[in-house]
Amino acid sequence: MKAKVYVTLKPGVLDPQGKAIQHSVELLGYGGIADVRQGKYFEIALDGALQESEARETATRMAREVLSNPVIEDFRVEIER
């Protein structure tokens, strides 16, 4: 079983890296880009014997306590069998 955790900057928190990426892809000629926000993605392999609800709870706790900083970031957890 795998937990996928997506950590993204909260709306309103400046993302200078996203801005730089946007600038670069626009220089390459990509058009129609309104905004780029950079985030983090984690894959956590979990014991297959866990119930999906337990896996979700564990991954959510990890995301809240370690993987994200709640002052500046939001997160989303997906569980894949």
Partner: protein, 233 residues
């Protein structure tokens, strides 16, 4: 009085801090390895600059889980003095001992240069040997020094006079042009409500000898020593 300098894997300003306390403040000081948990011998601890845990995940994020940090929290709750410099400030913010967070600099660069900060509050254990409005020339060296917080936190910091240093020019003018990293309200250093925990991005320990370009940082350490002396510890 006794000082401690906490050493994480990746700390690299620990020896500078130790040198300043022993040579310029003239007080006993120990290194404290991050796995140690007994801080009972100390009156003040310094969390030094560097790249603890390689800045993995987020700057300061993993150091916060080192065994010593639970002790630092108890130490601070008991009124012990904690000074976090650069990575130390990042660690204190990640640990929740100071509000807000430090994110990537506005212009993305690692900034390594002497800048100016203005003393905004001289009624703290870390600035009582300074005067409000004094301009200090101190180096910064960071990629993640851009202080962010929500509106309510900023209002609280302002109301409670917990913004201790602001980035300014050599005359003390605080403008966007004197903000090296995009920090909200030009914040270079803040303290907690009880005023015994200070976090700052500039490196006063690197500005304690004229030979190094500035000795303006010395008064911060001397203030702390004066505070401890007045408390007869």
């Amino acid at each position: 009085m006794k000082f401690g300098v906490i050493v994480f894997p990746g700390s690299n300003c620990d020896h500078d801090a130790y040198h300043v306390i022993s040579k310029h403040v003239g007080q006993p000081v120990d290194f404290i390895w991050h796995r140690d948990t007994n801080l009972s011998a100390y009156d003040a601890v310094i969390i030094p600059g560097g790249f603890s845990y390689g800045d993995y995940l987020r700057a300061g994020a993993l150091a916060r889980f080192s065994p010593v940090m639970a002790s630092v929290k108890e130490f601070a709750a008991r009124g012990g003095f904690v000074l976090g410099i650069c990575n130390g400030f990042q660690i204190l913010a990640e640990a929740g001992l100071l509000p807000g967070a430090l994110i990537r600099n506005r212009d993305l660069h690692f900034i390594c240069e002497h800048i100016h900060v203005r003393v905004e509050n001289d009624d703290t254990p870390f600035t009582n040997e300074l005067k409000r409005g004094t301009v200090l020339r101190i180096p910064v060296a960071h990629a993640e020094g851009n202080y962010v917080c929500d509106d309510a936190t900023l209002a609280e910091l302002q109301r409670e006079e917990r913004i201790i240093f602001r980035y300014c020019d050599e005359t003390g003018a605080v403008t966007d042009a004197t903000n090296p990293n995009g920090s909200r309200d030009n914040i270079a250093g803040i303290c907690n409500r009880e005023r015994n925990v200070l976090g700052m991005m500039p490196h006063p320990e690197r500005a304690c000898e004229d030979l190094l370009g500035s000795s303006d940082g010395r008064d911060i350490f001397r203030s702390l020593a004066a505070t401890l002396a007045a408390a007869h510890v």
